[in-house]
């Protein structure tokens, strides 16, 4: 289990991370969200032991993370961290040895994952000769070759087509099943909704949202009503107090409302129209993210 307790990191006057706390249990996928410059990279670097926090502590299974513990951590960086002049085998052997593995174990695991990702023929190819998607797969393999207790994934799906996204998702679920604690960071909120049971949203180093994804959505006051039908009086809905916007999306009306008490008032207006769908739903994580960070609803 990863435990991050009240970490603060300052660069001069600038507070990069402010009193951040969270835990990631074994076999759990945890979402760490934030716009660019929110403090995600600093948080990852503190967890990896690359930089020291000014305050607070980070432990993995109760032990402080130092060079004796980093062998149990895998890290997929946002930008590719591969030595492109090396072959796939050389690259994985390089990172694997740095994780304390012997050559035979590395080769055995590499063969397994190359087959899993359907790229066995690339084993002796130079990384610079591979497509972006295949380079991303190699980067992923390099991070999990040590079968880590903790895996940090920073934008792991960059450059992947839907088929390969599926392959990598399966791999992530496989690691989760094996008890790996996973921190997942992405700007694509649908992936976070797919994977994460718990998440934290950082804005300028501060924690804005924190908790289980379902609770965050449930507790979020603003709701959306999805309506499908004919002869709907849109102008009347727009005039209602508490209605933020009305938009047509894929043949449906999406009515954004300030709180769930507005929903019955909307229903009163449309109840005599010829409607086939009326659904009050929580907003997507993407909307919550944008609203929290910059404010789409403001």
């Amino acid at each position: 289990m990863l435990k991050v307790e009240n970490i603060t990191k300052k660069y001069g006057e600038n507070v990069a991370v402010n009193n951040l706390s969270f835990t990631v249990d074994a076999g759990e996928i945890f979402g760490l969200l934030g716009e660019n410059g929110a403090g995600k990279t600093t948080t990852f670097r503190i967890i990896m032991g690359l930089i020291d926090a000014n305050e607070g502590k980070v432990t993995l299974d109760g032990k402080k993370i130092d060079y004796s513990e980093t062998d149990n951590i895998g890290f997929v960086t946002e930008e590719r961290s591969l030595l492109t002049k090396l072959t796939v085998q050389e690259q994985i052997e390089f990172y694997g040895t740095l994780k304390g593995l012997d050559k035979d174990t590395i080769d055995k695991r590499l063969d397994y994952w190359l087959e899993k990702f359907e790229i066995t023929s690339y084993k002796n190819r130079k990384i610079k000769e591979l497509s972006k998607g295949n380079q991303q797969k190699i980067q992923f393999i390099s991070a999990i070759i040590n079968e880590p207790k903790l895996l940090i994934l920073d934008e792991p799906f960059t450059g992947l087509d839907p088929i390969n996204v599926k392959l990598m998702k399966d791999a992530i679920y496989y690691l989760k099943e094996k008890g790996c604690s996973i921190i997942f960071s992405s700007h694509q909120m649908e992936y976070i909704e797919d994977f994460c049971e718990k998440l934290i949203l950082l804005v300028k180093g501060n924690t804005i949202l924190d908790g289980k994804l379902d609770d965050i959505k449930e507790n979020y006051a603003k709701k959306n009503i999805m309506i499908k039908g004919e002869d709907i009086d849109i102008s009347a809905i727009k005039k209602l107090k508490g209605v933020i916007s009305v938009e047509k999306t894929r043949g449906e009306l999406e009515v954004k409302i300030a709180n769930k008490e507005v929903a019955p008032k909307v229903f009163n207006i449309i109840k005599n129209s010829n409607i086939t769908k009326y659904d009050v739903v929580s907003p997507s994580l993407n909307e919550i993210f944008i609203a929290s960070v910059g404010g789409i609803h403001e």
Partner: protein, 425 residues
């Protein structure tokens, strides 16, 4: 951690040694050194003559041929001259004159005793001209003295070279005039490969760190080995590499010498035994026994210092262009050291050059040179070594802070301000 350190060192060393450019460079170096040291054999093989003889045909109208020939032999020393008297008249000789032939017409003169005319197809080289001029002047002087009825015994004494007994009061001054020959001919040749190795070293350490940083693999590496172990593995690998390259250069020279022996023994561009003779007659042998081990220590420590600085500077850059700019001052310092070492004989005894010889980066070039020249003592060389060790200690103490902060810093701020900020933190 130790295992990972040695793994990184081995990987970095193998990467350099197994690279195509290393193999190609060494094949070229081997061929170049063997060819250079056997240049006369190569020229002869293609039908040329490296030691081209100059034929001097003397038209003797002054009955001075014998005297001239004797004087020419004295001044010519190692130069190859063949002297003969003319069998034809001057016009026929001029018509059939070849490029390696000269005609000297000796004429008597009542006032100046001897006058000469020098005829050649083309301009002749300065050395040949000076030898002929000296031989003619001596011939003229001898004729003048004979004509003045000076006793032949006195004449012989006048003509004999002066005997000089040398006494040098400074006991530490091991130099004599042969040293100028050593300094001007051997030292630049010996020091040039060392200078080249420093250039290799700086570029290798910096290039490798820059590559790891720009590809962002640095984050993964530093997550598994400490920045200190990472930097030291680069320093050790690059030092082992340049030492290997230095040893290979020595082996190539030995191969070239063996090739020259197999080709007849005298095909080297110079005579090795004469160099040893020159060193011996300079009284340098004892000095070299002292200076070689201490120079080796200085060289290895300087390699370490250069590699550390290159690594620390490379850690602050975000691309190879930045590093190329940052390494310029290091290169300029080593160029300055190289030239100061070659010119150090000119600064005889000055405080300036003595102080310069203590400065890290420069000391490796200058300190041994000044010691060989007798301008500084062994104590001064030891001081240079101690200062260099202290300098390396300071580099490690403050440089590692910079390195640790620098390798993960991708900001586009000014490199020097990032560097000083990292030292303060």
């Amino acid at each position: 951690m130790n295992k990972k350190f040695w793994y990184l060192t081995k990987l970095s060393f193998n990467k350099k040694v197994k690279s195509k450019w290393f193999i190609v460079t060494n094949v070229i170096l081997l061929i170049a050194i063997v060819a250079l040291l056997n240049i006369s054999s190569i020229i002869e093989f293609f039908g040329g003559d490296f030691e081209n003889n100059t034929n001097i045909i003397v038209v003797d109208n002054a009955n001075a041929y014998q005297l001239f020939e004797e004087n020419l032999n004295v001044y010519a020393e190692d130069e190859n001259f063949e002297v003969s008297t003319a069998n034809d008249d001057i016009d026929s000789i001029k018509e059939s004159l070849e490029d390696n032939q000269l005609v000297i017409v000796l004429n008597s003169d009542e006032v100046e005793y001897l006058k000469a005319e020098l005829i050649s197809n083309d301009k002749i080289d300065n050395l040949t001209y000076q030898i002929i001029l000296q031989a003619l002047n001596s011939t003229k002087t001898t004729i003048g003295m004979i004509n003045s009825n000076i006793d032949p015994e006195i004449l012989a004494n006048i003509s004999a070279s002066i005997t000089i007994d040398r006494t040098i009061l400074n006991e530490e001054a091991t130099t004599d005039e042969n040293m100028d020959m050593v300094m001007s001919s051997i030292f630049p040749t010996l020091i040039l490969p060392f200078f080249m190795l420093i250039v290799f070293l700086v570029q290798m350490v910096g290039g490798e760190i820059c590559e790891e940083k720009t590809t962002r693999s640095m984050e993964i590496i530093i997550a598994n080995v400490s920045p200190k172990a990472h930097l030291m593995s680069k320093v050790l690998a690059s030092n082992l590499f340049v030492i290997l390259q230095g040893v290979l250069l020595i082996i190539y020279c030995v191969i070239a010498y063996l090739v020259s022996l197999s080709l007849g023994g005298d095909s080297l561009g110079f005579d090795i035994s004469s160099i040893f003779g020159m060193i011996n007659s300079s009284g340098l042998t004892n000095t070299l026994i002292l200076v070689i081990p201490i120079t080796l220590i200085l060289i290895i420590l300087s390699f370490v210092a250069y590699a550390l600085v290159a690594g620390i500077l490379a850690s602050m850059t975000v691309n190879i262009e930045d590093f190329n700019q940052l390494q310029t001052p290091i290169m300029l310092i080593s160029v300055a050291g190289y030239y100061l070492a070659i010119m150090s004989a000119m600064f005889d005894g000055s405080i300036f050059i003595r102080i310069i010889s203590y400065i890290p980066f420069l000391s490796v070039f200058i300190s041994p040179t000044l010691f060989v020249l007798g301008q500084i003592t062994i104590i001064d060389v030891i001081i240079s070594v101690v200062i260099l060790i202290l300098f390396i200690y300071v580099l490690l103490k403050f440089g590692l802070r910079v390195y640790k902060a620098g390798i993960l810093n991708y900001s586009s701020g000014k490199v020097w301000s990032k560097l000083f900020k990292a030292i303060k933190e």
